[in-house]
Symmetry: C2
Subunit: 161 residues, 2 copies
């Protein structure tokens, strides 16, 4: 898979699997809605501040983020760290009107926050082989990019999930 194939996999995914260590040091996985990306390096996830994964990531930010397509047997596992943002600029960026059903107090709801996952290494596989990306290559993929919402793009194109 080349960088274009990997970007296509990330862009057509609505969900990713977030891996983290819980307070007992056990590995945990949680599926998250993840459609905001900046190259292959940075990914945004809106979630509940009170959730087990946010609490765990505030203690230990090491994490991985996995995009996979079971139908065609391909996957990309990014390893790196997670930053929990509670500043309004991040919260407003990802906010949708309908999110009020999850966060009754709206965009100001203290239970609403944004996880930024920052990749430092990557491994991928497909039927035709596997490989890795260096930290430099991953960073370069985001250098001239801005955060974009793949969900909005999918909706615009009329391709409902």
């Amino acid at each position: 898979m080349n960088e274009q194939d990997l970007t296509a996999l990330v862009n057509r995914s609505l969900f990713a699997d977030l891996g983290y260590a819980d307070p007992q040091g056990r590995m945990q996985i949680r599926r998250v809605f993840c459609t905001w990306h900046k190259g292959l390096e940075r990914h945004l996830i809106s979630t509940n501040t009170s959730s087990g994964h946010v609490k765990s990531l505030l203690r230990r930010p090491d994490a991985c983020l996995y995009f996979a397509d079971s139908q065609v047997f391909e996957g990309l596992c990014l390893t790196g760290r997670a930053v929990v943002h509670r500043e309004m600029e991040w919260k407003q960026l990802l906010w949708h009107e309908q999110d009020v059903k999850y966060y009754p107090l709206g965009v100001n709801d203290p239970d609403y926050c944004v996880i930024e996952f920052i990749a430092e290494s990557a491994s991928y596989y497909r039927f035709d082989g596997k490989g890795e990306l260096t930290k430099e290559k991953i960073a370069a993929s985001a250098a001239d990019a801005v955060f974009e919402d793949g969900y909005a793009r999918l909706m615009k194109g009329g391709k409902a999930p």
Copy 2:
């Protein structure tokens, strides 16, 4: 979710996400075909002995196994350990004729092995709440069970994935 709901989630899943630590200590996730179960405690995965996840699990068996259904927002994360079986009894149990396309030497292929994942704790969530299962409860779910192939059952019932 009660135990019956959790069992139903596991039984209708064809894939699970296996979380493990790589030789650098970084968390990694790999999607695996996982349809053999014994209660909620034990799960079998046929895979390549030469794969990164098998090599990593032989060094450090701590792992997690995650079953999730994105459509209905429910998930079960089992934490525990993985045992890599290379004995013929395990390999024969999971072998299908068509596996020869992945393992050209057949059931004896040294690159073919079986991972047994053994759960020791579990956390789950659904729209109506989240919870945990004790090690005792997980073990009890397998006490009177035998390994069964959910894929064979799905095929029998005429419900192709």
